[in-house]
C-alpha cells in the first residue's frame, strides 16, 4: 500500500471524474432515447464504436481531430436516424421488449460490419498533438487530454440543457416524454420528434466513442464493455432522467476510480454491486419516475 496522501486521493478523484465524463456522454444518449421513446438501446455501444471508427477513417483521409469532433456526431447521428426510421419505428406499440431485442441483434450486425470493413484487430488512435502531455493541476500531473474530455462533456451537457430548456423544439421533446398522447392531440407529429431524438442520442454516443479513442485505441468490441457499465449508470440515475445520468455517471466514475485505489480487483464488480444496492433501496433509481416501467 502506498502512503495515502491527500494529493493521491485528489488525483484519483479527478481521474474518476474524467472517466465519468465518458460515461456521462454515453449514458445521456441512452437515457434520452429511453426517456422519450421508451426504447432500451442495446446498439448504443455499437454507435459508440462506429463513432471511433468514423473518426479513424476521417483522419486517414487527411482530416484533423477538430473537424472530426463536428463530423463524427453528424455522421453517426445520421446512421441513428436511418436505424430509427426503418428498424425501430415498426416496433412502436409492440411492447418494450421488442426494440430491446432488435437493437441487441443490430449490435451484432454493426460490430461485424465494422470487422469486415476495418479488420478484426484494433488500430492505434493518436492523441492530437496539442493535447498531448500532462499539466500540473495543483495536486499532481494530469493528462491534458483527459481535462479536455471533461471540458467537452461539460460543453455538450450545457448545449443539450439549453436546447431542451430554452427552445420550443426542446419544449415539445420534454412534453412528449411526459405525455405523448396529449402532445399528439395537440397536433404535433411525434414520430418526427422521436426520429430526431434517436439521432441526437446516437450522435452523442458517436462523439463519446471518438473522445474515448485516443484513450484506449479503437477495436470492434469497444462498445460492449461500456454498454454494460452505461446501463448501470442509467439505471442508477433513473432511466430516462438526464440529470440522473450525469450524476450517476460521475458517481460510477469515482466509485471505479476509488475501488481501483483500494482494491483494484474489485473495480469491475463494484459498479454492479452499486447498482444492485441502489435498485434494492430505490427501484426507480435516483431520479427515475416510479411506475414508468410497469
Amino acid at each position: 500500500m502506498p502512503p495515502l496522501s491527500f494529493d493521491l486521493i485528489a488525483l484519483q478523484l479527478f481521474t474518476g471524474l474524467a472517466l465519468g465524463a465518458i460515461y456521462v456522454l454515453f449514458a445521456i444518449g441512452l437515457s434520452l432515447i429511453f426517456g422519450m421513446l421508451t426504447v432500451v438501446n442495446f446498439a448504443h455501444g455499437a454507435f459508440y464504436m462506429v463513432g471511433a471508427y468514423v473518426g479513424l477513417f476521417l483522419l486517414s483521409l487527411g482530416g484533423n481531430f477538430w473537424l472530426c469532433l463536428l463530423a463524427v456526431p453528424l455522421i453517426v447521428g445520421t446512421c441513428g436516424l436511418i436505424v430509427e426510421r426503418f428498424l425501430i419505428r415498426p416496433l412502436y406499440g409492440r411492447g418494450i421488449d421488442y426494440p430491446l431485442l432488435l437493437t441487441f441483434g443490430l449490435s451484432y450486425v454493426m460490430v461485424e460490419l465494422i470487422r469486415i470493413a476495418f479488420g478484426k484487430s484494433g488500430y492505434p488512435f493518436d492523441t492530437p498533438e496539442i493535447l498531448q502531455g500532462a499539466v500540473n493541476i495543483g495536486v499532481g500531473y494530469f493528462p491534458l487530454y483527459r481535462l479536455f474530455v471533461i471540458g467537452i462533456a461539460a460543453a455538450v451537457l450545457l448545449g443539450l440543457w439549453l436546447f431542451l430548456e430554452r427552445t420550443s423544439f426542446g419544449l415539445i421533446i420534454r412534453a412528449g416524454a411526459r405525455d405523448p398522447q396529449i402532445v399528439r392531440v395537440l397536433g404535433v407529429n411525434l414520430s418526427r420528434i422521436w426520429l430526431f431524438v434517436f439521432g441526437i442520442g446516437s450522435g452523442i454516443a458517436g462523439l463519446a466513442g471518438l473522445l474515448a479513442a485516443p484513450l484506449q485505441g479503437v477495436i470492434p468490441e469497444m462498445g460492449a464493455t461500456i454498454l454494460a457499465e452505461a446501463f448501470v449508470v442509467t439505471v442508477v440515475g433513473g432511466m430516462g432522467s438526464i440529470g440522473g445520468a450525469v450524476i450517476a455517471g460521475l458517481l460510477v466514475g469515482v466509485v471505479v476510480s476509488m475501488t481501483s485505489l483500494f482494491a483494484p480487483e474489485m473495480a469491475k464488480v463494484s459498479i454492479f454491486a452499486l447498482m444492485a444496492i441502489v435498485l434494492l433501496i430505490r427501484p426507480q433509481g435516483f431520479f427515475g419516475r416510479a411506475g414508468l416501467m410497469s
Binding site: 500532462a134 493528462p143 464493455t225
Partner: protein
Amino acid sequence: MPDIDLHVVSPAPDGEFGAKGAGEAGTAAVVANDVTTLIRRSMSLSLKSLYRQGPWSRRSDASDRSFRKYQHHPRRIYMAKQTIRSNSISRRRLLTTASAGVVLAASPFRINLLQAQEATIKVGFPVPLTGPYGAEAQDQVRAAEVAIAEFNEGGGLNGRKAELLVRDDKLNPGEAATRTLELIEKDKVNFIVGSLSAAVQLAVNNITKERQIIFNSISQSDIINEVSDFSKYTFHEALNPHLTAGAVGRYAFPKFGKKVAFLTADYAYGHEMVRGFQEAGKAFGVETLVDIRHPLGTADFSPLLPRIQALKPDILCIINFGRDQQIALKQATDFGLKKSMKIIAPILLYTARVAAGPQAFAEVIGGTSYYWGIEDKIPSAKAFNDRFRKMHAGKVPSDYGALGYGGVKTLLMGAKAAGSVEPDKVIVAVEALKFDYYKGPEYYRKCDHQAVQSVFIIESKATPQKGDADLYDVIATEEPNEKNLRTCEALGHKS
C-alpha cells in the same frame, strides 16, 4: 445387421406421421393408433440402430429432406420404402434385397473409411479465428500450412500425406471443447494442435487426455506442466510464464534496478507471470513495491496509474495481453510514466505492437518466443521465414504464428521418426527428438513435455526504419536451459 430390416416389413400408413390419414379419416382414434404404432416402430429401430452406427450414418444425402427419411439409416430407409410400397413381394425377394442392401450399406463404406484413415494424417487445429486474437489465429493457420506443405513435399509418412483441419474455437473453452470432440469423434483426427489461451488449452487438454489423443499446445500456461493437468499425450510447444518472465527478469533487474511495481491482469496468466518474475528476482534481491491486479478487459487504466507514479519504482512491469497490453502501455505513456521508470513486459506481441503503433510501445522491453528478425543469426529461422514469405505473399510470421508451425512440425516429424501415427510410438519419438526447425535448438523435457527452448529479449523501436514489419530490436537471447524451468519435482512429477 440383416435382422433389423425385417421390422419394417409390416404394412404401415404411407402418410408422414399419419397426418394425411388424419385429415381423411377424421377420427382421432384411428390416427392415434397409427401414430403410436409408427412411433413405437421408429423408436425400436432407432434404439437398435444405436449400437450399429458407423460414423457415416449421420451423413444423409442433402437432397433427402423428408422427415421420415431422417429417422433412420439412409440406406435402410430406402429399403423400408421399397418393401412398404409392394406388400405383395415374396419373402425371398425381400431377403435378397435386404442382404444386397446390407452389403451396399456396410462393406464398401467400411473399406473406404479404413482407406481414408490410412490415406492422410489428420491434424486438428482449433484456434480463435473470431474474437480479439483473430489476427494471431490466422497467422497460426498460415504457419501450420507451411509445416503441412513441407511434410507433404518431403514425401509424408511413407507416402501418407498430412491434412490440416482448422476449427474456430472462438476463444471460448466451451466452444473449443465442442470442436475438439467434433475433431476426435467425427473427423477422427490423429493429432490436435492449437489453442490461444490458457483456459482453452486446458479444456482441450482435458478432452484429449481422456481420449488418448496427442495434443500439442501452442499458448502459454504453467498449469499444463503441473501433475494435476499433465497428460502424457500432451506436449507444450509454447513458452510457459515461468520461463518467459524469468528470462525477462534476469535481463532487466541487473540493468534497471531492484524496486519493481507490477500491474497485472487478474487471471492465471498474470499470476503465473508475477510468480515467474519474483522467483527470478530473488537472486537479485528485487523488492516488490506493489502488485496491482486489474480485471481482464480493462478499458481504462488511468485510475491505477497515479498510485504507481507515487511509489517511484525503478521498473514497472506490465503483465497483460493483447488489447489490455495496448491500452495499458498507451496510457502509461500518456501519463508520462516512461520518464521516471523503465517499463517491461513478459511478452511483447507482434500484432499488439502493430495495432498500438510505435509511440505507445517505444522502448518497452519484453520477451518473445519468436521474432522474424532473428533470421540474421539463426539459419533455420531464415529458412522458415523465406518459406512463409513465399507461401503468403511476402508476409513474415508473427510470434504466435510461428508456434503454429512448431507445434504441427514437431508432431509430424515425430510420426515420421516413429514410422507410425500410433500415439504411444509417436510420444516416444517426439520425446527423443532434438530439433532445430525454426528458432534454434529445442527438445521436449521428458517429465512434463515442455519444450526447452530459447527466449528472445526484444525492445520496441521508437522509430521503425525498415518497413512495416520492423518493430523490435533483439537485444539478448537466453539459450535453452532446463535450469530455467521449474524442476520436475516442483511440478509434482516423479523424476
